[in-house]
């Protein structure tokens, strides 16, 4: 029988760049619709999506004027906390009524700080107004004894889960504000300690799951978002083990890079419709469907008891000739085993593979087809979560980012580890050099 490779017959849809630019320009220039109210306290990350998307589309300079971009930069600095770090939005700042006793309700926020700095970098700000020393000192206090990071510090207590998203953001802040030096550094003549890098690496290693993925905590289910954050964090710390390393180091993570790789490539799936079940696939194998797959609902329940009565089919009779070799129009990524594809996981998985230097081991053409042919919104621009969904900021940005990683030349090249354009990241060394000169002068 003739077997065609998928890519040979695939016709790749196009990115409707003009519509995406229109979508993001609207997000930049007009109020976001009221249903974003539930994300009011995440505004810095919405801001980052908007600015980073326009940058990836190479439209930042045309979508806004120089004075407008200055206002944007000012707004970000308006969210800077007096004691270092940034808030997610101005909503916790009590202004004239701020005092020592209510300061507890107005903490700096770890992801807020990462996204604020990333936004400033994309807007080509010089970081001159960043309270660098205070920020790094605060950051060090955001780490727990076990190496994990929290979200906020309230009355000396680290709040927020043991969540690698916070660790990832912390390493991003450290990277932007310290450069590649480890250990104690001198800032304006004062010593600033590093955080516990070994502790963070240990946290990542401990959360590697039995099936190869990485979770937020030991024994939790592995998840592509947490896998990205964990790999991204250790990569930014220069503590990454990759599958191609001859030997893996105990001081680095992940402990089993080959298993992580196997788990990541398993995320690619043709199942893209959350409302359909996997019944069709069961039919392909000739096995009666046992259960509904669609997220959040079970329609049919099983026959038979998986524990007591193994119902072994006879594999010999069950298979037709043409069962597996369906030609698909693209395959996105899911975030966990046996879930359907979702736009954002094309980024979380694609970027994880990129960090491990294995991005070509997935079918990148199928990812592009999935994004462009299924979840790109053909009227509004942007991307939805699932095919046919309305676009939202989160999926629209991660869709673009994923597209760049999957080899599209219609968007700027993305730095997977920091999730912004390579172009923007390249501005960092210049700033580090300037600081090095400043810090030396302070010492003398």
């Amino acid at each position: 029988m003739a077997i065609l490779t998928n890519s040979a017959v695939r016709v790749e849809p196009r990115l409707d760049k003009a519509r995406h630019i229109k979508y993001w320009t609207r997000c930049l220039k007009t109020y976001l619709p009221h249903h974003y109210t539930g994300n009011d306290s995440n505004r810095m990350y919405l801001a980052y999506f908007i600015v980073a998307a326009l940058d990836l589309l190479d439209a930042l300079d045309t979508a806004s004027t120089g004075p407008e971009r200055k206002d944007h930069v000012n707004w970000i600095y308006r969210c800077q906390h007096p004691d270092g770090g940034f808030r997610m939005w101005p909503g916790t700042d009590f202004g004239e009524r701020a005092n020592e006793t209510n300061a507890q309700w107005d903490p700096a926020n770890v992801p807020g700080t990462y996204f604020a700095l990333a936004c400033l970098l994309i807007l080509d700000d010089d970081f001159k107004r960043v309270k660098r020393k205070q920020c790094l000192r605060w950051l060090q206090k955001m780490q727990r004894e076990d190496g994990s990071f929290g979200e906020t510090l309230v009355r000396g207590q680290i709040e927020g889960g043991r969540d690698p998203r916070f660790a990832y953001c912390a390493t991003g802040i450290r990277h932007m504000l310290r450069g590649e030096s480890a250990g104690c550094i001198s800032l304006n003549g004062q010593l600033v300690k590093d955080f516990d890098v070994d502790g963070l690496v240990r946290c990542v290693r401990a959360a590697e799951a039995f099936d190869g993925g990485i979770a937020d905590e030991p024994f939790h289910e592995p998840h592509a978002g947490y896998t990205f954050c964990s790999l991204g964090a250790v990569a930014l710390l220069g503590r990454l083990n990759t599958p191609d390393d001859r030997t893996t180091s105990n001081l680095n993570a992940p402990a089993a890079p080959q298993s992580v790789l196997g788990w990541l490539v398993s995320r690619q799936t043709e199942f893209t419709d959350p409302d359909s079940s996997l019944d069709t696939e069961f039919r392909k194998t000739g096995v009666a469907p046992n259960a509904q797959h669609a997220e959040g609902e079970h329609v049919s329940s099983s026959r038979g008891d998986a524990t007591k009565q193994p119902i072994h089919q006879d594999p010999g009779e069950s298979v037709g000739d043409s069962i597996f070799d369906l030609l698909v129009d693209g395959a996105g990524m899911n975030g966990r085993t046996n879930k359907v594809a979702d736009t954002c996981y094309a980024f979380w998985v694609g970027a994880s593979l990129d960090i491990l230097k294995c991005s070509t081991l997935s079918d990148q053409s199928a990812v592009r087809c999935y994004l462009l042919g299924k979840t790109q919104h053909d009227v509004l621009g942007g991307f939805g979560k699932f095919p046919g969904d309305l676009p939202d900021l989160y999926h629209s940005y991660l869709g673009l980012a994923a597209l760049s990683l999957a080899g599209s030349h219609q968007v700027k090249a993305l730095d997977a580890g920091m999730c912004l354009s390579k172009n923007a990241r390249r501005r960092l060394p210049k700033m580090w050099e300037a600081w090095a000169v400043e810090d030396r002068t302070d010492l003398s």
Binding site: H34, G38, M44, D71, H220, E221, K284, H298, I311
Partner: protein, 315 residues
């Protein structure tokens, strides 16, 4: 006029609106007037560190509109504990809120705090069952369940049976498989599948699930993990894998996961590399072409040359 400004209960409060600081703020939202008002009253009472019943009502109102507000939850918790409120009532309110905001993380963190303080988990599994009815793979709920098991030592209170029940409903629910792994292996000081009896029980369980759904990765992953943790050679699973994928019948493979496992088993055998390569070729060309590049990479790792397109057509 909003509901707070006309309410005599709130007449002593001067609301504190948010100050954006200048023109062209980023990601500004078209807030409803209700939200804007609620937020400015919240800011006023937080600024005054007020802990009162009306504050509890206000935080409920705000959380309903913006559950991601990270300090309002801490503020509410402080208020509850300060006023020594009935925490059972708090749980009831949390039930409704969690059902409404399925994806929110703060709700579960708050629930942790409350149940921990109550030092009693009565009713929790009933509520969890309700959540799972809506989404049997909700990450926060499974994480919370693990916390409950550890915090209240529920390892042997029907937890294993619970995973069976969840898997009976959907044998592809990977969260339930993961929870089973946790229940069996996650307790400090227990051997888990290193105990031969438990190992056999778990292998049987996973193999039965494969029997129901051969093209279901979860039980295959589980089987491999049991073998690895129990330090059992992978070859012990060869006969089982060959029921679903055999090189002798390359047109009748009914599980790509069986074929992948077979490739790993063959690769460990003396002179098995060529055969492992055949299994990987079958995956690349026919049974799992979406991962073709990965299967080729795996061949490369075995020191085998990658296939030419011609070789694949004849496979």
């Amino acid at each position: 006029m909003g509901k707070y400004s006309v309410d005599p209960l709130w007449s002593d409060i001067t609301p504190l609106p948010t100050d954006e600081g200048g023109p062209n703020p980023l990601a500004a939202i078209a807030y409803s007037s209700e939200y804007e008002e609620c937020m400015s009253y919240l800011r006023a009472v937080m600024a005054a560190n007020e802990y009162s019943d009306r504050v509890l009502d206000l935080t409920e109102d705000l959380i309903d509109m913006n559950p991601a507000h990270y300090t309002v939850w801490l503020y509410r918790a402080r208020c509850l504990f300060h006023l020594d409120k009935d925490l059972r009532e708090e749980l009831e309110w949390l039930n409704e809120t969690a059902l409404e905001h399925q994806k929110n993380y703060q709700i579960w963190h708050h629930r942790n705090l409350v149940v921990d303080k109550l030092d009693d988990c009565t009713g929790e599994t009933v509520f969890i069952a309700q959540m799972f009815k809506r989404d049997a793979k909700n990450y926060h709920v499974w994480s919370y369940r693990q916390w409950l098991v550890r915090r209240f030592g529920l390892w042997e209170s029907g937890e294993l049976e619970f995973t069976e029940e969840m898997l009976r409903e959907d044998v592809r629910n990977n969260s339930a498989w993961n929870h089973r792994w946790f229940v069996v292996n996650g307790r400090e000081g227990v051997p888990g599948v290193k105990d031969p009896e438990i190992r056999e029980r778990e292998i049987e369980f996973a193999q039965a699930a494969v029997g129901l759904t051969p093209q279901n990765q979860s039980p295959w992953n589980y089987l491999r993990a049991v073998a690895k943790k129990a330090q059992m050679p992978l070859s012990g699973l060869k006969a089982f894998a060959e029921q679903y994928a055999s090189l002798g019948r390359p047109d009748s493979v009914c599980s790509s996961f069986a074929l992948n496992l077979l490739a790993d088993i063959l690769a460990e055998e003396i002179d098995g590399k060529e055969k492992a390569g055949q299994a990987l070729d079958l995956l690349a060309s026919k049974y799992d072409p979406i991962r073709k590049n990965y299967w080729e990479y795996r061949k490369g790792q075995l020191g085998l040359k990658s296939s030419t397109p011609e070789a694949m057509v004849s496979a």
